[in-house]
Amino acid sequence: MTTRADTEVGVAFGVGESAPRPDGIPKVTGHFAYASDLHAQDMLWGATRRAPHAHATITSVDVGPAVAMPGVHAVLTYDDLPAERFQGQIVTDQPVLADGTIRYWGEVVAIVAADDPTTARAAADAIEVEYEYLDPLTDVDEALAAGEVLREAVAYRGVRDVHGAVVVEATYETATQDQAPLGNEAGIAIPDGAGGIDVYGPTQWTHVDHEQIVACLGLRPEEVRVHPTGLGGAFGAREDLSLQTHLCLLALQSGRPVRMVFGRAESFAAHVKRHAARMYYRHEADLDGNLVRVEAKLLLDGGAYSMTSPAVVANAVGFAVGPYRCPNVFIDGYALRTNNPPAGAMRGFGAVQTGFAVESQMDRLAEELGMDPLELRLLNAIGPGDVLATTGQVITEPLPTREVIESVRAMPLPEDSISSDVRDLPGGTGLTTPSSVVVRGVGYAVGFKNLAFSEGFDDFAEARLTLTPVGIDIHTAAIEVGQGMVTVLEQIARTVTGVESVRVVFDHTSQIGSAGSTSASRQTQMTGGAVMRAAEQLRTEILEHYGAEALSNDGVWRNGELVVSLVEACLEREFSAHVRHRHQETDEPDENGQGNLHVDFAVSAHRAVVDVDPVLGLVKVVKIDTAQDVGFALNPMSVIGQIEGGTMQGIGLAIMEELVIDHGVVRNASFTDYLLPTFLDAPPVEAVLIEQPSSWGPFGAKGFAELPTISSTPAVVAALRAATGKALTRVPVRPEDIAF
């Protein structure tokens, strides 16, 4: 018999605890079903035929040899598309299948479905496609000159002809980074026998996929159900459609379930990338170091189609000055259309590129002024009540810019001695580098970004909580991509209701309204906020019904006595609460890019310690320390996991991750040659969490998981500059950039 004392000590695994992930053990033991594990009876296998060129005219397509192959059930090209022939979540400009022109390497020309994967591959290869090769447009300056602009975004504030006594000017570049999620694209579409279809594919936002798929199939919205699947990572790569529409087209054509599973090479062709960028910067300050004027021109390579470029360039502009005060700001940002692979969302979403440039500029300015780089940042740092330099909006929520800088500065540095373990030396087990040649460098950087959707977007998330005989079900369309949202939603519901036995049910698009995208560091605040409110409503409804004061796994409590069990309550009536949660409205930008464009922000700081072989240009990151603005750590272990992972993604961009693209063609579409940091490249990460509660996040929590990626890259490069004296204006920094 449960006693009253049990309910008073509070629920286990509520907020603030490192509650275990419900999917943790299944993932570690191999029992978790990922998208690539999906099967259906009588299933066919799909395959794509992709273009080998970045720019070409299709002069002829003959599907005859594929159609004639035994075991082939469907072969489709552009001419077979039944309804809307273009898709795209912001601008509908991407042909579902190539429309006669190839605009990027790997564009899909035709799709097939066959009895088995080998036949499907052979059939796709048997299609005869003739191309007339065209020169690809691959340079952003040339694209700008040619007027190939996907979106121009600006931030103009202050007076143009005010100038500072100290000026630093430089051009920065970031190369193309891939999200490189471990799980390749995979999915299945299953016709329902009544003209409709169920599709399971890699996604971060089922409802936005749904709109596009419905249009392309020419079906009614309720005839298409987009389901979440088990995802092996996303990082932005699943924000745009990859294979979902193709699966549906093949399944409807053949009348059978169709599955596709991409290999690693095809995965590199199938999802959007982080925008490569070229950024022209000019900072002006007075002799004391106060920023007077920042001017920049930002060129982001959007690749062949819009994807999320219009939003990415707005973000790049919005965070182009960093979390610093500056009265005169003139930023021109362009997302350009080229024949490179389409770029879209990736962790940091535009703020990574300008974050690298602006932090590099702050170091350059400090050097010119003869100031300590952190003092320069502290002098110009903004916090609550200050004005965001780019949009002119007043910061109303906590923004601990000074605190993250001061915290990371106060953390102890590692010992000076260079390790004698080869695994800790630059070059590692390759034995390239004697410790006698190693030079150490230390560098700092700050990261800054918005949380949730901006620019007037109607940003909402739905959640429905229902009482069940064994606990509470949390229904949501929000996507768990591995980040741990599933755990914090449970923790929020536990703490609010007192019921420990809760679980998240991932609904499809007909079962619940949108949760918005799992991106923009938003789900903890948005879906978490919806779950908190729904949990409060559910708890109130049950307690009022029974005139009671507490809930637990056992049931409903009044005056220390159990009134009814959960089973009895569920038999009596249905208890359920459905919430659509919105954050405070934001403005659309005016013609100068001004307004309350963003609802909230987060900051971070990193300090990197690197050991460098200056002759060979090889680098070992020795240690990374960071301070992060998290509002309130709902799950400290999960927070640390996001910080470590995000930091490694930023280290990757700093020193090795680059999709090598030559005339629009990707040359390293494999994990042999697209180098991700290994365990031996991962330094110890020490993190300080700054907990200044947000007024609108559940229990004061803030989104933050993009921030570690933003400040780690410029911190590593600052450390490399300190060690080598090189300018290093491009990431990733390659050995030859240091050696020559």
Binding site: G263, R423, T429, P677
Partner: protein, 266 residues
């Protein structure tokens, strides 16, 4: 797909005679990548994993089936060092010396060692065995002198193994990376020095002029080391590709060779 698993070299050769197009599979660390990518669709596979003769290893001979996990324990410094740089622990547990010879990539980690010690390669077929110098076996990028119906038995090392050996390899991360330049240097008590270069030419190369120059130096001073480094760079024949530039490789291989030589001089 049919797979046979003979337990002797004779069994392998029998199977190969009946299926001349068979895929001969050892560790599979190169081959299975091609199979998984759909680039290779073997109908008939001969697995070498149970052939004990190929796993023989002694001071004078390394069987083709000896894995890098075993070679990591070698008393020959360069052999242990290069083996440690091969892939991950899983790959070293599967990958074999014969695999590097079979693939014949200029970036094969073991090949600079075999070149530097002037190893000879023994091949065997139903008609008997033949042994040839490493540079007659490795004839081009991913090309070797292996005939159909022939397999690699292993590599013979010279009687008078050099006194000191050293290996070094550059890749753009701390481990599990394909070489963008590698070297193996050997030096005996008389000062005779050899240096072999990987990933900076169509095949593994020997920097003969650098060897000759430094072999004449009993106790090379800074100027001699500078000259050695310069000659090695000059004798390399690198290309620019997605992994690195020719300019960097040329510079780096000279630096690596000098540092490896310095390790041999200690």
């Amino acid at each position: 797909m049919e797979i046979v698993r003979p337990d002797s070299v004779a069994g392998v050769l029998d199977a190969l005679a009946s299926h001349p197009d068979a895929l001969v599979l050892a560790g599979g660390t190169d081959t299975m990548v091609l199979v998984n990518a759909g680039a290779l669709r073997p109908e008939y596979v001969i697995s070498l994993r149970h052939v004990e003769d190929l796993k023989a290893w002694n001071a004078r001979f390394i069987g083709a089936g000896v894995t890098y996990a075993r070679l990591e324990e070698s008393e020959i410094a360069a052999l242990a060092e290069l083996s440690r740089t091969v892939g991950s622990p899983q790959i070293r547990a599967a990958g074999t010396l014969g695999g590097n010879l079979g693939t014949a990539s200029p970036a094969g980690d073991a090949l600079p060692f075999l070149a530097a010690v002037d190893a000879t390669i023994e091949l065997v077929s139903k008609h008997g065995s033949r042994t040839m110098p490493w540079d007659e076996f490795l004839i081009g990028p991913k090309q070797n002198a292996l005939e159909p119906a022939e397999i690699i038995l292993g590599a013979h090392l010279p009687d008078d193994m050099p006194w000191r050996t050293a290996f070094a390899k550059i890749g753009v991360r701390q481990a599990m990376v394909i070489s963008i330049a590698s070297v193996c240097v050997t030096r005996n008590e008389a000062g005779e020095t050899t240096v072999a270069l990987g990933a900076v030419g169509p095949t593994v190369l020997r920097a003969r002029r650098a060897e000759m120059m430094v072999s004449a130096e009993k106790d090379p001073d800074e100027a001699a080391l500078d000259e050695f480094q310069r000659l090695v760079s000059e004798e390399s024949r690198p290309i620019t590709d997605h992994r690195s530039t020719a300019e960097y490789r040329r510079m780096a291989v000279g630096v690596l060779a000098r540092r490896a030589l310095e390790r041999c001089l200690v």
